[in-house]
């Protein structure tokens, strides 16, 4: 699984992109976010308020219940501010 981080989430976590095998206990986006928050203080702090966290899987917006598979490209980012 590839995970991408953007904007202040990238800055706070200190990582733009990582590649890791999908942990067996993670079934969906909610599970991944929980798992990431327990990964260390930077992750815990960056993902503290999930109401300002959006997730895309394979470049489409998804809800928290979206199932994850190894090989997915998961992007985690704050609400967008382009235009």
């Amino acid at each position: 699984m590839k995970i991408l981080y953007f904007a202040w989430l990238r800055a706070r976590i200190g990582c733009a992109e990582e590649e890791l095998p999908l942990p067996a206990e993670i079934g969906d986006v909610a599970g991944l976010l929980d798992w990431l928050r327990r990964r260390g203080p930077r992750f815990a702090e960056a993902l503290r308020d999930l109401s300002v966290v959006r997730v895309a899987v394979n470049q489409d917006y998804v809800g928290r219940e979206h199932p994850l598979r190894d090989g997915d490209e998961v992007a985690i980012f704050p609400p967008v501010t382009g235009g």
Binding site: P79, V80, G83
Partner: protein, 149 residues
């Protein structure tokens, strides 16, 4: 047509190209977004636009298709820049061309409202107090809601 690029663009040239040779077009609506020198009460000396390469192009292409599904458009164009920009610089151009002005105006409005809430771009501003990530605005979400019927 969509383009995601670092370089500036010439509005006159882009609009000319958009309608060239098509004499069914009666109107072109367009919106150009510029870098402002103020943001959230702070003086802004520069802006950096980050985006999600791949998803950006995918979402822009999808929404352009959706605009053509909703309105009778002959042509459309979305150009969105990324990278470091300064006050007065152009950020985005949305243009829609149609035989009918209402269609062009509505589709242009729809596309820019959509861009503000769904296109994976993020702005950070350089201010006297340091770098500051621009926050999403509730008004932008409200503006987008109107098109969700």
């Amino acid at each position: 047509m969509i383009r995601v690029q670092r370089e500036d663009f010439d509005i006159g040239v882009e609009l000319e190209r958009l309608t060239a040779g098509n004499h069914h077009i009666g109107g072109i609506a367009s919106f150009v977004g510029l870098v402002r020198d103020m943001g959230g009460g702070n003086r802004v000396s520069a802006l950096t636009l980050e985006h999600y390469p791949g998803m950006t192009e995918k979402k822009l292409a999808e929404i352009e298709l959706e605009a053509h599904r909703r309105w009778p458009l002959d042509a459309s164009l979305i150009i969105h820049r990324y990278g470091r920009l300064e006050p007065g610089d152009r950020i985005v151009l949305v243009a829609t061309a149609s035989p009918h002005r209402e269609a062009a105006l509505a589709a242009c409005h729809f596309l820019i409202d959509w861009l503000k809430t769904e296109a994976p771009f993020w702005k950070s501003e350089e201010t006297p107090a340091g770098e500051r990530w621009v926050e999403a605005r509730a008004e932008d979400d409200a503006a987008m809601q109107r098109w969700k019927t």
